[in-house]
């Protein structure tokens, strides 16, 4: 008969206690929208689980010390609807609003999305574009901050390790010149796993229509998010005109070719990314003030 043990900490002190006593095969459940499917599909496996759904201290969104800080237990719905995230991390709000279905968004959490480390995880490219950091805590309360792009090591794998938990995700609060957007392509228009997704964050001078900094992250193109410095270089110090839009699209196509050469999905993705590029470009620039008539 299968063994199924669950610890239910109700606060951070109890969580630390259970983390200290965790085995190498102890799993963490936050919402459980990913883990529950694995459990259902593997009824033969024994499970030792720490259920952090009762740790209310991990459910928050706040502005503090110049950062937007999001607790690991915060649901996608709360992130998508939060005024601070919409203003300072638009791409993250957009990504959160497109994860799964309404039901999944109401229960799934940002910590779980990162911990699941799926190549198609929607929040990951958005967080990478924002240069977000993840805080990880062990059972003794020791914390470590790691850039999101360094968290994932492979499909379903990350550096969190046993006896540790993701407690927070944070990113810098920047002024109004910083804009961001997220885009996703799947087999359906909603409730779909990403076949391609992208987060992009820019410092944009709207008076001169000039991109002054860019950070572009691509997902569902390999085990880990690709943060493309090459595309950032192409965009930096350039006017956001149709010519640059086409260069951006072409450069994304090259990233696809470099990431998945010879893969069955390469032909589809190298064409689909053009549509994604246009969608994200329009989100960023379509309604912004431009200095030169007709450039957009």
């Amino acid at each position: 008969m299968r063994k199924f043990e669950v610890a239910m900490p109700s606060d951070m002190d109890e969580l630390k206690y259970y983390l200290k006593n965790a085995c190498s095969d102890t799993l963490l459940i936050s919402g459980g929208t990913d883990l529950m499917i694995k459990i259902k599909n593997h009824p033969e496996v024994d499970y030792k689980i720490i259920d952090i759904s009762g740790v209310k201290e991990l459910d928050y969104i706040m502005a503090e010390e110049g950062y937007i800080k999001i607790g690991a237990r915060t649901t996608f719905t709360k992130i998508a609807e939060n005024g601070l995230v919409l203003k300072y991390g638009t791409c993250l709000a957009e990504a959160s609003s497109q994860v799964g279905s309404n039901q999944i968004r109401n229960w799934g959490t940002i910590g779980g999305n990162i911990g699941n480390s799926s190549p198609a995880g929607d929040l990951l490219p958005a967080l990478c574009a924002l240069n977000a950091r993840v805080t990880i805590m062990d059972g003794h309360g020791n914390v470590e901050g790691i850039p999101v792009q360094d968290i994932i090591t492979g499909i379903g794998k990350n550096v969190v390790g046993h006896g540790r938990v993701i407690t927070e995700v944070s990113f810098l609060i920047r002024d109004d010149s910083y804009i961001s957007a997220f885009g996703k392509i799947g087999s359906r228009s909603q409730v779909t796993i990403a076949r391609l997704n992208m987060g992009i964050a820019l410092k944009y001078n709207c008076f001169h229509n000039l991109i002054e900094e860019a950070n572009v992250a691509l997902g569902a193109l390999g085990p880990k998010v690709i943060v493309s410095e090459r595309i950032s270089t192409i965009l930096n110090s350039r006017k956001a005109d149709n010519k640059l839009k086409e260069e951006f699209s072409a450069a994304l196509r090259e990233e696809v070719d470099n990431a998945i050469p010879g893969r069955v999905s390469q032909m589809y993705k190298r064409n689909a990314i053009k549509g994604l590029a246009y969608d994200v470009w329009d989100k960023l620039f379509k309604e912004r003030i431009v200095s030169t008539k007709g450039e957009m």
Binding site: R2, F4, E5, V6, M8, I29, G31, G32, T33, M36, I37, I39, K40, Y47, I49, D51, S53, G54, T75, T77, G100, S101, N102, Q103, I104, N106, W107, Q190, V191
Partner: protein
């Protein structure tokens, strides 16, 4: 494992096996079979219930996760023998054919109307995109939600 929770406005204290899913607690232990299991993977929405005023797939929730929370199932909508406005609207609009998706549909819609009493059609469609129906083609369902929202 002993947990306390509120279900359809009634308080419970139960000893629950740690591996039990919420849908199994509702259907098998508490005999509230209105909530249906379609896919068991959070794709079809047939198992939708409301937890703390949010629509959630009960097939993806461990029963112990509802400790100290408030849960509403389709059985909890009726008051004093009177159907909820949504239930009446579904009947009025022919939004029920086989009926299997219906409890989940209604619970998703109920959660929406609790938060947004007058949603646009776009908002209805987006919110209920996680509820699948193989029978109706969705138009009557959307109309039912619109009727209930007036």
């Amino acid at each position: 494992m002993n947990i306390s929770f509120t279900l359809n406005k009634r308080k419970y204290e139960l000893d629950i096996a740690p591996s039990l899913r919420l849908i199994d607690l509702l259907r098998n232990k508490l005999h509230l079979t209105g909530t249906k299991e379609g896919c068991g993977e959070g794709e079809c929405g047939a198992c939708t219930v409301i937890i703390d005023e949010q629509a959630v797939n009960s097939c993806l929730v461990l029963a112990i996760q509802i400790r100290d929370r408030e849960v509403i199932t389709i059985e909890g909508l009726e008051e004093n023998g009177e159907l909820d406005a949504l239930q009446k609207a579904f009947i009025d609009n022919g939004a029920v054919q086989c009926g299997f998706c219906t409890p989940g549909m209604i619970m998703s819609a109920k959660a929406l109307l609790l938060k947004n009493p007058h949603p646009t059609e776009e908002e209805i469609r987006t919110t209920m995109a996680g509820n699948l129906c193989r029978c109706t083609g969705y138009v009557n369902i959307i109309n039912a939600v619109k009727q209930a929202s007036k």
